[in-house]
Amino acid sequence: MHPVEVTFDALLLFSMVVLAWQGVHARNMFRAVVSFMMFGLLTAVAWVRLEAPDIALAEASLGAGLTGALLLATLGRLGPERRGPRRRRAMKLSMLPWLALGLVGTTVLLAVTLSLPAPGLGEAVLAAMPAAGVDSPVTAVLLNFRAWDTLLEIGVMLLAVIALWSLGQDVLASTSRLPAPALPALVRVLFPLFVLSTFYLLWRGGHGPGGAFPAGALLAAGLVLALLAGARVPERMRGAPLRWAVGGGLFAFLIVAVGGMWAAGAFFAYPPQHASILIAIVEIAAGLSIGVMLTALFLGGEPTEVRRGRT
């Protein structure tokens, strides 16, 4: 590798480690959260350095953007941190075994990596690509070879939404005291762009970096921005329509999976001549549903049907 690249990587990773430490141990909670958001942004750059653009897209919008919005919203709802007596010396002493553990772990990791059989599953995936129905290896793994994992993952998200909704009504923070005309104006300009790029990423997922996860993340980012600018879930969307939107991805996924069982004899076995179209259906349904579910996670509770949620 070129020395410049090595230097860049070293700087990037060093800042990530420092920010991670700040994000956990900063004196002020707000500073911790902001450090963590910056850590997320740098992580997205690290994914680019690791030649993983799909993950970088998802990380930039989820790890830095949406997680940050969630954390800041939570911070606003919590009171100030009640500090116990500070025990600096004890903390430093307790660091030592961890440091030792980290060093040992790193050495073991290095040894393991160097002794691993090199190719991993890359060759196997490449060999199976002609039958996958899409050109992008990551999308093929997500929605064809290991579609089962993705199904369960969407199930986990749905469970998270259900868990949050069963905790109570939505707890959106009240609007700020000073009117901010710039934000709604910005959202009016940007929201169509968010929708456009969501569908662009969905379409692109078939042959390049993109697909359901980054697209859903982007859609969620747009919706959360609209929520922050003062938009609320429309009255007629609450209740059944919203629930269908939240559960739709899993539902479409299951229908395609069971259909595969009926047509080709196994759960998630796509008939090869229809694989592309089936994957496209699943991808669009999953992407939109992931977007809505992420927004629902941000809402923090079910929007009430009759009256507005507490603000």
């Binding site: 700020s176 005291r177 901010a180 710039a182 104006a185 910005l186 300009v189 940007l190």
Partner: protein, 97 residues
């Protein structure tokens, strides 16, 4: 020649980034810091994007760079205004000599 001009633009942009960062570190309160950051960084990003566009040989790529710059202008201005409003709402008075 065009490559050369692109490199010059990028270096110029980096200088503006540097000055914005110096302002962020040296200025006394949140409003003056915003003043330094928002202007210097927007111009710096514009210069870097222009330089990269000169290096790029693809029309679509140049359009994307332009789009990036426009989006950052819009969102950066909005963010600065929001931060300033939040600071005012928290009772931070602008710094006076």
């Amino acid at each position: 020649m065009i490559m050369m001009a692109g490199t010059v633009l990028i270096v110029l942009g980096l200088l503006f980034f540097l000055s914005g960062t110096v302002g962020l570190l040296r200025f006394p309160d949140v409003f003056t810091r915003l003043h330094a950051l928002s202007k210097a960084d927007t111009l710096a990003l514009g210069l870097v994007c222009a330089g990269l566009a000169l290096h790029a040989d693809d029309g679509a790529l140049q359009l994307k760079l332009l789009l990036i710059w426009l989006l950052v202008i819009v969102s950066g201005a909005t963010c600065s205004s929001l931060i300033a409003r939040a600071a005012l709402a928290h009772g931070i008075r602008p710094w006076q000599r």
